[in-house]
């Protein structure tokens, strides 16, 4: 199997005024296509930073990122945006739904920025059906429970049919029952749709259900 994400010797240093914070220090890792990987580690050890670099939202200070065998170093903003749009789907701890759009429109966002996308509304409804929310189509985000909001966010992450889903503590703001529902959903996406999933979590139980756990400590991988 080929690795779909390959990070080599990644370092990330945040420069704020006089203080240099080293968030990641020479991290290398590979993720295979179809894998469900969880990343664990104490707070502030660089997990989110790692995920953002994988998601092309942030650039490493040094090291190389390859997505689907392509080195993203030196890619234009436009090419990066396109890669994000077509290959990656994000799920955030605090959902990040857009309050002024109803849930169908929220789910449609990745398609709005995809060149030549058709049937946007139908695809959005299908994605919502897949996460079990087909009865809530006209609702606004503020009318949803946390679990429902996160399911909308997952629908948004999969609507564009990306091969990779990056989830930063997707159950972090949910109670255990809703968290379990979300985990079921992610497993379904991984098993039945073959999505590669990288998930940051603090929950050891959830991590144990995944194919592989990567442990971080203080900006480094723990072998």
């Amino acid at each position: 199997m080929s690795s779909i994400i390959k990070l080599q010797n990644i370092s990330k240093i945040y420069q704020t005024k006089n203080i240099e914070t080293s968030a990641l220090d020479d991290v290398s890792l590979e993720i295979e296509e179809g894998e469900f990987v969880s990343i664990m580690g104490p707070s502030g050890c660089g997990k989110s930073t790692m995920l953002n670099i994988m998601g092309l939202l942030d650039k490493p200070t040094s090291g190389t990122v390859e997505i689907k065998g392509k080195n993203v170093d030196g890619m234009s903003d436009k090419a990066l945006a396109r890669l994000r749009n077509e290959t990656l789907g994000f799920v955030f701890q605090s959902f990040h739904l857009i309050n002024t759009l109803n849930i169908v429109d929220n789910v449609m966002i990745p398609l709005v920025y995809r060149h030549g996308a058709k049937d946007k509304s139908r695809l959005a409804r299908e994605a919502l059906e897949r996460v079990g929310l087909s009865h809530r189509l006209g609702h606004m985000p503020s009318q949803l429970s946390g679990g429902q909001a996160q399911r909308v966010a997952i629908a948004r992450a999969i609507v564009g049919n990306p091969s990779i889903i990056l989830a930063d503590e997707p159950c972090g703001n949910l109670d255990s029952k809703m968290g379990a529902e979300i985990m079921d959903l992610l497993h379904h996406l991984n098993k039945d749709l073959g999505k590669t999933i990288v998930m940051v979590t603090h929950n050891a139980d959830q991590a144990r259900q995944t194919d592989r756990i990567i442990n971080f400590f203080d900006g480094r991988r723990v072998k």
Binding site: L57, A81, H96, I98, T100, V112, R156
Partner: protein, 439 residues
């Protein structure tokens, strides 16, 4: 595009204020921009003659107690002969194409003028009586060609008109004036009726020439004038002032001509008891009239008011959108993480304000239309309303509404775009990771 409307709709509570503001802004912008547009248009409306090639020279006659006074040259015949010498000298100058005796004042754009009342001899418009400015010009003075007045089709040429010996019952009129009485016919040879006060005597005045419309003063919008001959020295036995207008050759700068008019030339123009008093280009005269009537300062005040208003509009929108966009940082983070480009974010935000401003403009514009239907538009300087206004966009209601609407819309949109661009640029520059962290 759809996202723009949805965003606006769901943000209607926040946008309501801006929307209401923009409606009021449209209304006020009309009120302020309309007079400026009319004023600028009036100024740029062609005068109808070659003002930019004319220079006026005014002469005075020496008083009898002056040392150089020559009693033997004080009679009417010498005055006429000496005035003709002045004309010949002026025309001998290389920069000068022709010179025209102008009576006591430069003929066009003088601050004093005569008014006449004429009634049409056309039975169809018989009751029409129109006040009209009457221009008195000197016979045999090359008046029409010097001023650059063009003759109407079918009428004698300017040179021929100047040479015509016109009797007291004959006049030359502008096309625009003639059209009021004979809308569909050539007015050449037609007659006006003048009825005496007691109503007993009826006299006829025949049109012997028709010229293209021109404006007597730049502050008047009317192109209606009549021309009568009047032999200045016959009527003014004890005059002390008269003027010449010269037409410069093509390419000669009137300002330069005036500046270079040195002592040698002045000396040459000291003929008989006449002395050159002042020399000034026609434009200086025009500016002076505008100044006298307060048109120039009025225009300046309006322009200042207008720019002040527009700057405020920009600042207002910047402020409004600034507050809004600050709350939308995480939204842009989300959009960016799902593949939106910086430019798409900017376009979306600008699109929102353009849609908002356009809708508000349409409402404000229609409101102003209601007002204008009642009150009418600003028609510029009052004098223009008293008399046969020329037929341009200013006096045509719908054309006026359309043109000023477009100007107002364009200015509002430009201000709103500038006002949105600043916050939008800032927003689009925030790195998506930082934007997502913002809660």
């Amino acid at each position: 595009m759809k996202i723009i409307f949805k965003n606006l709709w769901h943000r209607r509570a926040q946008n309501g204020w801006l929307f209401a503001e923009l409606i009021i802004v449209t209304f006020l912008a009309w009120e302020i921009i309309d007079p400026v547009a009319v004023s600028i248009s009036d100024r740029n409306e062609p005068l109808g003659y070659d003002a930019d090639r004319l220079v006026n020279l005014s002469f005075i006659s020496l008083p009898e107690n002056a040392a150089e006074y020559k009693a033997e040259e004080a009679d009417s015949a010498s005055n006429v002969a000496n005035s003709a010498k002045i004309a010949r000298y002026l025309e001998s100058l290389p920069e000068v194409e022709s010179a025209c005796f102008a009576g006591s004042n430069p003929i066009l754009n003088s601050s004093s003028n005569y008014w006449d009342q004429l009634r049409s001899g056309n039975p169809a418009v018989d009751t029409l009586v129109k006040n009209i400015i009457s221009v008195q010009y000197e016979p045999d003075s090359k008046f029409f060609e010097t001023m650059g007045i063009e003759s109407a089709p079918g009428s004698p040429s300017p040179e021929e008109l100047s040479r015509l010996n016109i009797g007291p019952r004959e006049i030359i009129v502008t096309e625009d004036y003639a059209r009021l009485f004979w809308p569909d016919e050539n007015a050449l040879g037609k007659k006006f009726i003048t009825v005496s006060r007691d109503g007993k005597d009826t006299t006829y005045t025949t049109i012997v020439g028709v010229v293209k419309g021109l404006r007597y003063q730049s502050i008047l919008r009317s192109r209606c004038l009549i021309f009568k001959q009047d032999r200045y020295f016959d009527y003014n036995t004890d005059f002390d002032e008269f003027a010449y207008t010269v037409r410069l050759a093509p390419g000669v700068d009137p300002k330069q001509f005036v500046a270079d008019f040195g002592p040698e030339r002045r000396n040459k123009l000291s003929i008989g008891n006449f002395r050159l008093n002042k020399i000034a280009e026609q434009q200086a005269l025009i500016d002076n009239v505008e100044f006298t009537y307060g048109i120039a300062s009025n225009r300046k005040i309006k322009m200042i008011l207008c720019s002040f208003f527009l700057i405020n509009l920009i600042l207002g929108t910047v402020g409004c959108f600034w507050l809004q966009t600050r709350r939308r940082v995480s939204e842009t983070g989300v959009l960016r993480s799902f593949g939106a480009l910086k430019s798409q974010i900017i376009k979306m935000l600008i699109g929102e304000s353009v849609v908002l401003a356009t809708t508000a403009f349409i409402i404000g514009d229609l409101l102003y239309l209601q007002y204008a239907l009642k009150e009418g538009f600003d028609l510029g300087f009052v004098n223009n309303m008293s008399l046969n206004v020329i037929d341009n966009w200013v006096s045509n209601f719908w054309e006026h509404f359309g043109i000023v609407s477009l100007i107002v819309y364009a200015l509002i949109i430009i201000c709103v775009i500038i006002g949105t661009l600043l916050p939008a640029l800032k927003l689009s520059r925030i790195n998506p990771v930082d934007a997502l962290r913002d809660e």
